[in-house]
């Protein structure tokens, strides 16, 4: 067990940071005021400029209490002028999950871009990780919410 943990730690330490700051990391489309004609492509800098919120919590994928920072669901909906009821979030491996807009508005979730202050690489499940405030609300501790906690998000489609 200890060996396993040691190997895992070394494994994580060897992570290189990929990508270029100028490349878009997120595509947004669907029923919003900002995307009536064409989808919106945002770089990390542009996305974070919407407004940053911090959530400090444990997650099923992070045993220690971790500080996540990113754009809150509420701020993003407000920024986009979103009108739909559900949001399809798509990951880099094309995994897709539908998240209710109500979760974005009421659950306190954030689209985290930073873990402990540093941008998350793809190897660290970046560039965007949907983080619910698990510690603040024990009711979130279930498989349905785990399924919605999508990582390596590359695209959001509001419908």
């Amino acid at each position: 067990m200890r060996t396993l943990l040691l190997v895992l730690t070394l494994f994580f330490l060897s992570v290189p940071v990929n990508g270029n700051a100028a490349d878009p990391i997120l595509t947004i489309g669907g029923l919003t005021d900002k995307t009536t004609n064409a989808p919106l492509h945002l770089t990390l800098e542009e996305f974070e400029a919407i407004g940053m919120t911090t959530v400090i919590t444990k997650t099923p994928w992070h045993k220690e209490v971790t500080t996540f920072a990113g754009v809150s669901g509420t701020a993003l909906m407000k920024f986009l002028g979103a009108r739909g009821t559900e949001i399809d979030a798509v990951a880099l491996n094309d995994y897709k999950v539908a998240i209710p807009v109500s979760d974005f508005l009421n659950s306190g979730l954030i689209l985290a871009t930073r873990k402990n202050g540093t941008p998350m690489s793809i190897r660290e499940k970046g560039p965007i990780f949907v983080i619910y405030p698990f510690d603040a609300n024990p009711k979130l501790d279930n498989e349905v919410i785990y399924g919605r906690s999508i990582w390596q998000v590359k695209e959001l489609r509001i419908r």
Partner: protein, 488 residues
């Protein structure tokens, strides 16, 4: 009704073995259900703490990513340009993150297993899980080697390395596919084991609970039945008491009214007999005089009998009044002896008062009633004495609160076997056939009056030596307080 129950064995005796068995079963079931409850709590904790990731999904995602990486690698082999290499780099990172996620899943399962080491299910799933973890780590080591090779290729663009990378990837894909099917089987087995374990414990818990419930239903029904039975018995005895009281009252009323009815003609008989006896104008002949005397004697005896029956029925009906007052014992005794003196003289019995020189206390009693008691006892002592016998009266303070007056005779004495019936009404202890006149209720009345006076009555007797009757009278208002009453 009561007699019927006495004829059969009592229900409690008949049902006792059955009841004991039921109690044992219920207690046993309670203990077992406690045990199964603890087991179920552990199962619940196990389920709650079990990792919620689906390892099958995780490994399938990993395999899917491996194939995407293989495609990207193939594309680079055909077209080794910066753009295609960039896509390969992205696929490598995603592939890497899948290993990362799978490692976390296995770590969580191993941690959970070490926490469930004491549970039933541990041996069923632990070995399979350890084997999977070990094999996964081997595959991941190969991936780390390949990752290093790919990084070098991305930095150098050296196509020579692609063959080695392809070879390493093929090994990874082959092992990982094989692992995926084993993970799937192990997951199914684990879920089956956990579910069966919980269902078995639940089943055991259910039937022990069912036994407890049945036990409680039985005991509730049994206690209800006992309660109803006791309630009915109480109702019956209440009813019997009411009927008894009514019968007693009816008897007293009957005796009382009958006595009145009898007394009126009897007074006429006695009155006219006395007129006959003493009429100086028409003196009776000797024979006539003897007959009239017989009428008078019989009439007086009948009157006494009627008076006593009337008295007894008054006492039993609670219609007699007692007036407590301070009464000097001396004067009560003197009065009684004075009233009985003539009778004793007639019968030739000598009365000795051994208390005549003593200083006697003052009693808290009804003087007239106490006199009645003493005259009754003295009259019995004379009546049932031997010719030329003696009656002796003595006194003593038996406690600071009680004064005892004893009347001893030199009669035949009362046989031991008849002593129990002495105070019962109309019991004359075999003297019914004798020549001594008596009603058989004198002692009954005497005892009842003594009770009303807060006193006690008793006797000692030996056949051939005579009897001693005694009556205890309080010297105190409450008959038992430690302070001696003052003189009036």
């Amino acid at each position: 009704m009561v007699g019927q129950y006495k004829m059969t064995p009592t229900p409690s005796a008949k049902w006792l073995p059955m009841t004991i068995i039921l109690i044992l079963i219920t207690v046993g079931a309670s203990v077992f259900s406690g045990y199964w409850y603890v087991q179920l709590r552990q199962d619940t904790e196990t389920l709650r703490s079990a990792p919620k990731d689906d390892p099958t999904w995780g490994i399938m995602q990993l395999n899917s990513e491996a194939l995407k990486f293989a495609d990207a690698l193939h594309a680079v082999a055909i077209d080794n340009t910066a753009e295609v290499r960039k896509r390969l780099s992205l696929r490598l990172d995603i592939f890497y993150s899948r290993f990362d996620i799978m490692s976390e899943v296995f770590v969580r399962y191993e941690q959970w297993l070490s926490a469930t080491r004491t549970l039933d299910i541990y041996p069923m799933i632990a070995d399979a899980q350890h084997e999977l973890t070990r094999d996964f780590l081997e595959i991941r080591d190969r991936f780390i080697d390949m990752d290093r090779e790919v990084q070098i290729f991305l930095n150098t663009s050296d196509a020579e390395r692609l063959g080695e990378i392809r070879h390493q990837l093929d090994q990874i894909i082959s092992s990982s596919s094989e692992l995926a099917s084993r993970v799937n089987q192990a997951t199914n087995q684990k879920e089956f084991n956990i579910r069966e374990n919980v269902l078995n414990h639940l089943y055991e818990f259910q039937w022990t609970l069912l036994l407890i419930i049945l036990g409680f239903v039985f005991f509730s029904a049994a206690s209800l039945a006992l309660y109803v039975k006791a309630w009915r018995a109480e109702q019956r005895s209440k009813q019997a008491a009411i009927e008894l009281k009514a019968a007693s009252e009816a008897k007293s009323n009957f005796l009382s009214s009958m006595s009145h009815e009898l007394r009126t003609p009897l007074n006429a008989i006695l009155g006219f007999a006395q007129l006959l006896e003493y009429d100086p104008a028409e003196p009776l002949s000797k024979n006539q005089k003897t007959s009239v005397e017989s009428i008078l004697r019989g009439g007086h005896h009948l009157l006494e009998l009627i008076n006593q029956v009337l008295e007894l029925s008054k006492i039993e009906a609670g219609k007699i009044s007692v007036n407590f007052e301070w009464a000097p014992a001396r004067s009560v005794i003197d009065e009684s002896l004075h009233l009985i003196k003539a009778r004793a003289h007639e019968e030739g019995i000598e009365i000795l008062d051994l208390s005549s020189t003593d200083t006697l206390p003052v009693l808290w009693t009804d003087g007239t009633r106490l006199t009645q008691v003493l005259i009754n006892l003295l009259s019995n002592a004379i009546k049932y004495n031997q010719k030329g016998g003696k009656v002796t009266l003595t006194c003593q303070e038996i406690s600071p609160y009680m004064f005892r007056i004893k009347i001893n005779d030199t009669g035949l004495g009362i046989p031991t076997e008849k002593q129990d019936d002495l105070f019962k009404p109309f019991e004359r202890l075999g003297r019914e056939a004798g020549n001594i006149e008596g009603t058989g209720i004198g002692l009954t009345i005497t005892r009842q009056i003594t009770d009303l006076l807060n006193g006690q009555i008793g006797f000692e007797s030996e056949v051939g030596k005579g009897s001693t009757f005694w009556v205890d009278v309080p010297m105190d208002k409450d008959g038992g307080s430690p302070t001696h009453p003052g003189q009036p």
